[in-house]
Symmetry: C2
Subunit: 201 residues, 2 copies
DNA sequence: CGTCAATGTTAGCGCCGCTAACATTGGAAA
DNA sequence: TTTCCAATGTTAGCGGCGCTAACATTGACG
């Protein structure tokens, strides 16, 4: 199915367009893609892509969903070898920040896409949040975590991780040209700091 | 100078274009602006704007710089009535998050614009960072803040604030439709949490 | 074997960013 | 005051874009 080159019907156009767009966004950013260029790349007329994606926004939504699924996969992977819940949480923070450092354009696209947070992947994220909140309540019952609103604690943790990732993507002056390993160490250090508090009371 | 309407020369075109673009980005997002539409709005031919901005990127850079200056202004304002350094820091976090909630498209443009973090306003931000670090070291000398790397503490604080702002702009499921007052309370609660730590040790 | 839905094609509309060549004008220099 | 020129406007147009309509090809299925 991948080598059909002399037939009128391409046979695999939708996936080829999607993968090409995915690669192009990852390497050159979302502004680098155009429907016509994708069509040329696939060796197809400039109207053909519209048989598979109603408009450009829909195609970008699909790319964003693919990227979000990839991020999800990496987050799951990261917690595979973690026994307790705390190390799971920290591993996920690290994986999240690393993804942002390695694929800034995809990270950007994911969060700039309405349909991602609204759709299935938003629910995945919500499920993760509920897990985190359950963990926090557990910690509070055991007397390990102060009795603040668990929702607030979860939100603050998320915000810290998301903020680190965003500062990298947004090329914050202190964080531009951050390697993946440096990103890992930074995420570890920052989440540790959140746990112990910075003591500014 | 503002009412020249029947003359060949507009007389104030650069500023009019800039202000129109600023308003349009703020209300409808960066994708809503086009050079030709701006020209029409200003009652001028579609080539005229290029006498003042070499290309669209340069115009957007100028809008971003204006927006960043506005943000700077609000940050300065927010600390006016604060005596000690800690309340200054928290007031700035609140102002930062509020700006993001009230002007998401401008906030987005600021951070997506290379020239802003590279140029003058990046230096302003750096100066702010140095102030924060000085405050942290002071706190450490007084025994109020743990002996972690002051740079790291500063970075973590920034990341939390930036993360909250970004979650709002990115329409995080839990934070969409957040009012300015809710943003204020959230920022206060989260920075407080950072100070005390969430105790997940 | 015929037909039809899926999926390709060509042609073209209107908008865009941007440029070249020309027009107007206000203000500095003579 | 007159002259002239740099600044800043104009028109016309190129090529690329997103997208649509009308038509062409074909494989799968009755």
């Amino acid at each position: 199915m991948s080598g059909k080159q002399n037939s009128y019907h391409h046979g695999n156009l939708r996936e080829v367009l999607l993968e090409t767009a995915f690669r192009l966004v990852d390497s050159d950013g979302v502004e680098a893609i155009s429907m016509r260029a994708l069509a040329r790349e696939a060796g197809v007329s400039s109207a053909a892509p519209f048989r598979h994606f109603a408009d450009k926004r829909v195609l970008l939504d699909a790319v964003a969903e693919k990227a979000a699924a990839e991020l999800e996969r990496k987050l799951d992977e990261s917690t595979a070898a973690c026994s307790d819940a705390l190390t799971q949480f920290r591993a996920m923070s690290v994986a999240y920040v690393r993804f942002a450092a390695e694929h800034p354009a995809l990270f950007d696209l994911i969060h700039g896409t309405e349909s991602v947070s609204a759709g299935f992947l938003g629910e995945v994220k919500d499920e993760r949040r509920l897990n985190l909140i359950a963990l926090i309540i557990e910690g509070q019952n055991a007397g390990l975590i102060p009795e603040a609103d668990p929702e607030l604690i979860a939100l603050t943790s998320e915000a810290l991780t998301h903020g680190l990732a965003r500062m990298i993507v947004d090329r914050h002056p202190r964080l531009r040209t951050l390697s993946s390993e440096e990103a890992r160490q930074l995420a570890l250090a920052a989440t540790h700091l959140l746990q112990t508090g910075i003591g500014l009371t």
